[in-house]
């Protein structure tokens, strides 16, 4: 059995690139105005001999500078761009191939197409079987994966530095020469339908799908990245092949972060990828659908008898290209992106409603969602929701305190160090530069831009991005136990709920007097 932990907030870096993640990760954890701890009479003081050694808080020496890497850009003769970072690191090299064909490029009736294309790319390449490809990665001790996110499809491999040549070759096979075998297609189709069914049992998954559908209407972000049972069932291998054939060097980037010399890394990638050409027609222009101005206030997803309910409160917010990216990221760190965040201090530490309360902005090519999140004991759903909404309202009503501003800066500055500490996440971060058309020195200049922010800047950004009174409130849990609680908190002023099922689909409301 795995160990049990203080908090699940680990690895929820708010800076992490969203483009390689197929399923939105749980929103990063974080706190509220640290309410003064209750002050009971202190226990009688038992002196400990020698305790003078710890009686004074040490001074903090000056912070050392961190120069984030700026990738070297190389353009191959076929137009494919390489982003190369040579660094000593700790022995691991990561290579990623990203193409700007993620779920946002799925046809409206075929959600899951990019994701199923990714699955087929992993199911055998260059006339080698799925097991042979996976076995080749194992023999290198490397990790290989293909995944579709909202804005990009990513093929990634990572392993020890000395395996670079074999890793690049394997990556090129998987990225450029998938077998697209019909027998594998039938199997993967059945498997995905089963996985989508299995996912319905997870409260958080049900809440997340309902949130997307309610907040985004007909916009591509409304649709599940992995598709729906119906869309996957109706998909054909021909559609997958056609989607794959739109991939071309003008839409893709190769990222490498590793310990070999820059020249060596460039040469190996050039040899493997410079002959690549698009095999089909160029892709259709991206969807012009806009985010709907109206959205339901309250959405319920019924999970009978579950002892906890998932709360997700949020709305479409800002794209990655927004000038508010940094102030909103800082705001999130203080609101719900750290252990001492306002949400976590309030809902977990002060009230004991939850194991953790978090929030997150998923910045993307489109205005991705802001979501505040907590999984709470069913009986306290309404009071927990009241506290969560209260904290959200404060973000637009009040500026951050000087301490909060300074904490947010310090946390984000070190999150950046940690993001670039591991080759895999560093490669993801470098890939995001290209997917979101950001300058090569984005990370190098980040800390200075962070330093110049004021509390007023952050509040103004919050007011532009967030309208707490118009956020979608999703509650996924035991409807019989949850619904009667809501009117008991009149401050919530919630209307009758829209009902959705565990797949995010609208459910007609039961007629009055009807059962359940």
């Amino acid at each position: 059995m795995s160990p049990v932990q203080k908090t699940m907030m680990a690895a929820a870096l708010s800076l992490a690139a969203a483009c390689a993640t197929a399923t939105p990760a749980p929103p990063a954890p974080a706190p509220a105005t640290p309410a003064p701890a209750p002050k009971p009479a202190p226990p009688p003081r038992v002196p400990v001999k020698g305790e003078e050694a710890i009686s004074r808080q040490p001074a903090l020496p000056p912070l050392k500078e961190f120069a984030a890497p700026v990738p070297k850009l190389v353009t191959l003769k076929n137009g494919l761009k390489l982003y190369v970072v040579e660094r000593k690191g700790n022995g691991i090299t990561a290579v990623r191939f990203l193409v700007k064909r993620g779920a946002s490029a799925d046809p409206e009736q075929k959600p899951g197409l990019a994701s199923m294309t990714a699955a087929m790319m992993e199911a055998g390449s260059a006339k080698k079987s799925e097991a042979d490809i996976a076995g080749a990665a194992d023999a290198l001790g490397a990790a290989l994966g293909v995944e579709a996110g909202e804005d990009a499809l990513t093929v990634g491999i990572s392993g020890m530095n000395d395996k670079l040549p074999q890793m690049v070759k394997l990556l090129a096979d998987v990225a450029l020469k998938p077998n697209m075998d019909p027998a594998e297609w039938k199997r993967l189709q059945a498997q995905r339908v089963a996985e989508l069914a299995a996912a319905r049992a997870q409260i958080r998954n049900g809440a997340s799908l309902a949130f997307k559908a309610a907040a985004y209407g007909v916009h591509p972000l409304a649709r599940p990245v992995e598709g729906t049972p119906e869309s996957v069932q109706s998909m054909t291998l021909a559609e997958v092949k056609a989607f794959f054939s739109t991939f071309g060097p003008d839409q893709a980037v190769l990222v490498v972060v590793g310990g070999a010399s820059e020249g060596d890394m460039v040469k190996r990638l050039t040899d493997a990828f410079s002959g690549w050409k698009r095999s089909g027609p160029p892709p259709a222009p991206p969807s012009s659908a806009t985010v709907p101005p109206e959205r339901p206030r309250l959405v319920l997803v019924d999970y009978p008898q579950k002892p906890q309910a998932v709360l997700m409160v949020g709305q479409p917010s800002a794209p990655r290209s927004s000038p508010d990216y940094i102030p909103l990221t800082l705001l999130n760190s203080v609101l719900g992106g750290s252990f001492t965040s306002r949400l976590n201090q309030n809902l977990r530490e002060q009230h004991g409603y939850t194991y953790g309360a978090f929030s997150r902005f998923s910045f993307g090519a489109a205005p991705g969602p802001f979501i505040a999140y907590a999984q709470v004991k069913t009986e306290v759903t309404a009071p927990a929701l009241k506290e969560m909404l209260h904290e959200l309202e404060r973000t637009v009503d009040e500026p951050l305190t000087a301490d909060e501003l300074s904490k947010g800066r310090a946390l984000l500055a070190y999150e950046l160090v940690q993001l670039l500490e591991h080759a895999d996440s560093a490669a993801g971060a470098m890939g995001a530069l290209w997917v979101y058309d950001l300058p090569l020195d984005e990370y190098r200049t980040f800390v200075n831009r962070l330093k110049s922010l004021t509390a007023q800047d952050v509040q103004a950004a919050a007011q532009r991005a967030l309208q707490p009174g118009k956020m979608v409130v999703v509650v996924a849990g035991d409807r019989k136990a949850v619904e009667p609680q809501l009117p008991r908190e009149p401050a919530l002023k919630l209307p009758a709920p829209q009902l959705r099922d565990a797949g995010g689909k609208l459910v007609p409301a039961a007629p009055p007097g009807g059962k359940g």
């Binding site: 932990q5 040490p58 990790a143 904490k407």
Partner: protein, 447 residues
Amino acid sequence: MSLALALLMAASPAPPLSLHATATTLDNGLTVIISEDHSIPGVAMDVLYEVGSKDEEPGRTGFAHLYEHLMFMGARYVPYPRFDTIMEAAGGTNNASTSNDFTWYHESGPSNLLETFCWMEADRMATFGLEMTDEKLSTQKPVVLNERRQNYEARPYGTADLVTHEQAWPEGHPYHHTPIGSARDIEAAQLDDVKRFFARWYVPSNAIVSIVGDVDTAQAQALVKQYFGWIPSPKKPEHPPAPPLPQRAQTEVRRLTDKVELPKLILAWTSPPYMKPGDSECDVLATVLAHGKASRLYKRLVHEKKIATEVAAAQASHSQGSVFEIEVMGLPGKDLAEIQKEVDAVVQELIAKGPTPAELEAARNVIIGGIARELEGLTSRAHLLSVLQANYGDPNTLHKELARYTTLTPKAVAEVGRKYLGVGKLVVEVRPEPASADDASKAGGSR
């Protein structure tokens, strides 16, 4: 065959992994490990106490983990909630974990936080139990109970995990109960329990402090000595020996239902303790059986027979004994008996003949690749050093850890497989609950 294998092994030397640290022991018994790495301006500290859920008293299951939560509720010079606020104000973060054997606390942040980390960890090592109150206890109980609900009671198959654990270890064995414990025992914890646990287990002689990052070894050693060296300590506490763990003569079956859509099969065998003979062979068996899409169970059940969506296997090792576990998620409506028949056949084939030389080599590289990833980050490297120290009595033992895998042969792996997987096992079957009549979401809510 053996010659071919020898050649194969000669052609694939162990990958170049290295790790160097300096270990010292303070007069009070605290072990201090420092490893410099100046590639980023950061530092990670891992404070490991050799106490876990196996050391809990009767009626207090889950206590070691509850105690871990309480450790953030303040001590004498860093009262609540200053441990977290001081750390985060300077860009640092922390977490902590509890397993059957160990409890470890870890923080990481800009390298200028090193002295602050020392101060805060030393404060709670020295004074935490003295400053404990009922109020602090009552603040963390609901958080832990919510953790239990979130990770077990409300999570699909979470109940099956608890049942598997409790059935895999016999009553009376210190691993019989789970680290999360029972809700009733968590509720029952008292102030005196905390003070007793603090006095017995949270003493310098029972702790290891590992520091990795952009630090100077001599300076870091001096800081640790300054902040921790004065803390009085009794001699290292002893753990009551665990009774030997019998293998099952007969296979036992437990059948459960859960609010899930897919059937799941869990098989568990008693296996050798961590680092004892047979442990690394079991790691290889698990890797050959279920790591990735080239694994034997994946190929047979997912690819060929098309009866499962997912397979997993692990040798979950602990100091007093281990469990070797296989999990299979079935496709909708597939018969768990048919799934088990296939799993049994695959296991039998593997333990009869052992892995092929190529499979063994790949498994070894997968496992060593995993260790290479642990070495990559400061936090996981600091923890690895603590674990090497706790198990080998010396942190500079990575080569021993690697040799456990590089010296294996297919024959040895097969023998261990026959010995531990060729006997009775625990079978846990989880089936979807029949849809209930008033379940509006499934019935479409149209009534």
